[in-house]
Amino acid sequence: MDALAWIEQTRLSVFVREDFYAYFVLLIFHAWGMAFLVGGGVAVSLRVLGVARGTRLERFAGFFQIMWLGAAMAIVSGLGLLAGYPAKALTNWIFALKFACLIGAAVLVWRMGREVFPVAARGEPMPPRARWMGAAALALWLGGVACGKLLLYTNKMLLTTDLAW
């Protein structure tokens, strides 16, 4: 808790909380980043599940760059938001669940890119596990987003000073 209290006293943390624009600019970039990251992930997952069969699956790798851009935006802005209210996120297990969902989904998409896309490029039928990976990735992407919204309603405190109450 001392570390969280120290973070709250840094100039960055105070700026994020007290500047009218800072918090909302970070929120906007976080939403855009998540839109590109999760959006790309949703597109890849749906294709692996059999939607838009007329497209070549391995060409969906073109969306990976968009997802990387989204991840970078979401991580940088997310760190800024975390700096503003570290205790709000780090004392809530939903925050860990959000990360677990998003990392799990990203790992599945990476594995699809390594294991399923080459099979599709050779014109061979997709392995049966591909559909499971696609379904799990889709569920985890949307689960990560749901956890992000749940964070707003399940936090026990905003700042460490709330403990005084």
Binding site: A35, V38, G39, V42, A43, R47, R59, F63, K149
Partner: protein, 178 residues
């Protein structure tokens, strides 16, 4: 403030929401939270399908047939329906916080722009785009439609994120109130 509105009737809207049960549902223990999750799930489906279609049509992603990629779009329509339904529930449950909110008004304008752009795209451009091969570059007009679409949806997200920053009565926009 609100009673001077000659067109919209926030009290009447919220009374209707109470009568039909939406208000009680939204203010139940998890009502607002679940509606928010549905709203953002819908947006993810929308950006994951329509947004990715736009990126392909802008030429930022190559090698995908636009006609085949368009098969993703019904999931975007589902996403929009989820977002619209949950958004409707937000608005009717606390109308004065949305109807006169500058950010919400901008969001609705961008939503209208996205809808108009989509309608014109399907009327004048869609057939030409569907005829393209996976490696063909879309025409400049198609890229413009895609850019307007993606910018509109990102604008919708942006305006939606700042609705809480521009809440009435601190912020109050009502050009039609006179």
């Amino acid at each position: 403030m609100v009673t001077q509105d000659p067109i919209l009737d926030p009290v009447g809207i919220v009374t209707w929401a109470i009568d039909v049960g939406i208000y009680d549902l939204m203010y139940s223990a998890w009502g607002w939270t679940i509606a928010e999750i549905v709203h953002f799930t819908g947006l993810c489906l929308l950006i994951g399908t329509v947004g990715m279609f736009d990126l392909r049509m802008m030429g930022l992603v190559k090698g995908l047939s636009l006609a085949a990629l368009h098969k993703l779009v019904p999931f975007g329509v589902l996403g929009f329906a989820l977002s619209a339904a949950s958004g409707f529930m937000f608005v009717v449950s606390t109308p004065d916080q949305y109807l006169y909110n500058p950010a919400w008004q901008v969001k609705m304008c961008l939503l209208a722009l996205a809808g108009l752009n989509m309608a014109v795209f399907y009327l004048v451009m869609a057939k030409r785009v569907y005829a393209l091969g996976p490696d063909d570059a879309p025409p400049l007009a198609a890229r413009a439609f895609a850019a307007v679409s993606l910018a509109s949806w990102l604008g919708v997200i942006m305006a939606g994120r700042v609705i809480t920053a521009f809440r009435p009565p601190a912020w109050f926009w009502c050009a039609w109130c006179g």
